[in-house]
């Protein structure tokens, strides 16, 4: 028992450390890639190639004065940045990052916890992330913050349905909710679920971008209309927490996408962890690429797109997949 607790603790610490470092360097990556796409140089002062920039940013943010406006709701104002950050970290509790391996004579599983409702857990946890933005926007007592918070909640509620439905196809085909089993079913490239669920994948990635409030769906923080949206009144480390939350959510969504559609840690030659990180990296790159390429949606376009395009498509995808699986089972088992 003690051994299990010990190993789990080490795994949790390792995952959190890697995740936080990943969040910090995701900001660096975003700035570098954006700079590259816009023919700029990007951060290059701190360390070689600007590699120490995230550390410099962190130090700066920690030593900044924490300005709290007079008319804030203290409790929620303090809680909001934490609420936006914690769900992103919790998601990684069920994401398998490696196959089972042996280290110092201990048999170690490549996931913190193999829940048999893994995906549902992910969706349950990520659905709580909206509170951070909503409460942050409301408690700051500023018009811009409030509008940003309201927009984000409306957006996230609208896209949550399609988001949830987009993965139902994969679940129907795989016949399991456990993330570990899902990865095991995708041992070869040919068996990746992206080939069986191309529409499901497109829906997932579109909704995921909207759920994480990233460009082109970054309406909640449209700077031309709302200053900085829900985190207008935040400063110092509280502001940084929102940022860590956003990047943490991006990483979480990327990790889930890699697990559901691209075989998770499965891959030849390289160690499983490396494959997993490569796949997550690719999705992060996609995020930044989208931001560099696409202009922001208008609010009504966003709502129309979510309800009138994505939602029917998600239902159609579920229906067709269900019928397909039913027909297949008829063929195999002879009705």
């Amino acid at each position: 028992m003690l051994e299990v607790i010990f190993i789990s603790s080490i795994k949790v610490i390792a995952v959190v450390v890697v995740l936080l470092t990943g969040c910090a360097y995701a900001t660096y990556m975003e700035r570098k890639v954006l700079a590259f796409m816009q023919h700029r140089i990007g951060p290059n002062y701190a360390g070689p190639f600007g590699l120490l920039q995230p550390i410099a940013d962190a130090v700066k943010l920690i030593f900044k004065e924490d300005v709290v406006p007079d008319n804030v709701e203290r409790l929620t104002y303090t809680l909001a940045p934490m609420i936006s950050f914690v769900p992103a970290v919790l998601t990684f509790a069920v994401v398998p990052f490696s196959s089972n391996f042996t280290l110092f004579g201990y048999e170690i599983t490549g996931v913190i916890s193999d829940l048999n409702i893994g995906i549902l857990f992910v969706f349950a946890i990520t659905s709580l992330g909206v509170y951070g933005i909503l409460l942050g926007g409301w408690s700051a007592g500023s018009k811009y913050s409030l509008l940003g918070g309201l927009r984000s909640s409306a957006q996230m509620i609208s896209y949550e349905l399609s988001y949830g439905l987009s993965i139902v196809g994969v679940i129907i085909i795989a016949n399991t909710l456990s993330m570990v089993e899902l990865v095991e079913q995708q041992a070869t490239i040919g068996s990746w679920f992206i080939w069986k669920q191309p529409l499901g994948f497109l829906l997932y990635i579109t909704c995921a971008v909207a759920e994480t409030n990233r460009s082109p769906f970054d309406l909640p923080e449209a700077e031309s209309e709302l200053v900085a949206g829900y985190h207008t009144e935040y400063s110092s480390m509280r502001f940084a927490q929102f940022f860590i939350g956003e990047y943490g959510n991006m990483l979480a969504v990327s990790a889930v996408a890699a697990t559901l559609f691209f075989g998770g840690w499965q891959g030849p030659l390289l160690p499983p962890v490396i494959w997993f990180l490569i796949k997550v990296f690719c999705f992060m790159f996609l995020y930044i690429w989208l931001r560099a390429t696409l202009p922001r949606f208008r609010y009504d376009q966003l709502m129309n797109f979510g309800w009138k395009v994505l939602f029917p498509l998600a239902i159609l995808n579920t229906l067709v997949t269900g019928l397909w699986v039913l027909w297949l089972s008829d063929v195999i088992f002879g009705g």
Binding site: N116, F121, F123, S127, L128, A154
Partner: protein, 191 residues
Amino acid sequence: MNLDTIVFLVSAVVAVFGATMMISQRNTVASVLYLILSLAAQAVLYIQLGALFLGAVLIIVYAGAIMVLFLFVIMLLNLRGNQDMGDPPGPVSRFTKYLVSILLVIELVFIIRGVAFDTDASGIMSMVTDDFGSVKAVAMLLFTDYLYPFELTGVLLLVAIVGAVVVSKREKDETPIPADQASDNSDRGTN
């Protein structure tokens, strides 16, 4: 005292604490937050009983969707904690309040008396089968024995949604309003 009992006691206390704080708050947003806390603790209880699916769905549907809408409405109405909530209730409403509360407490006592007290949390857990509460088991029941009520509930919800849209819809002869305001209105109506 084993781990199960500790988890049960902690989450049970948190659930009751959250529920109590929810009804005793003047600040509506704080009420909502305490309700979410209570729901989270209830989800833990469900999961401890082996009903993983139910626990997850409780979080997804109630904490993740319905309570967000609650908060949404409170924000749109801009109810702040320090706001005056109107006159204190009169004698009639007070009497009704206490009457209903007392009746509910009596009912609760009878229910608790009816449940055997000697089963602790781990005892209840050992009573259920391995398959209990799994997605497969719930789905099996939902789509066989309870298909009819399940589908009826779906229709009922649909009717409620359509009704809300109809109620919030403006008459055609009224002056047309800009699109963004119209969507604002329908939001308020559905909630």
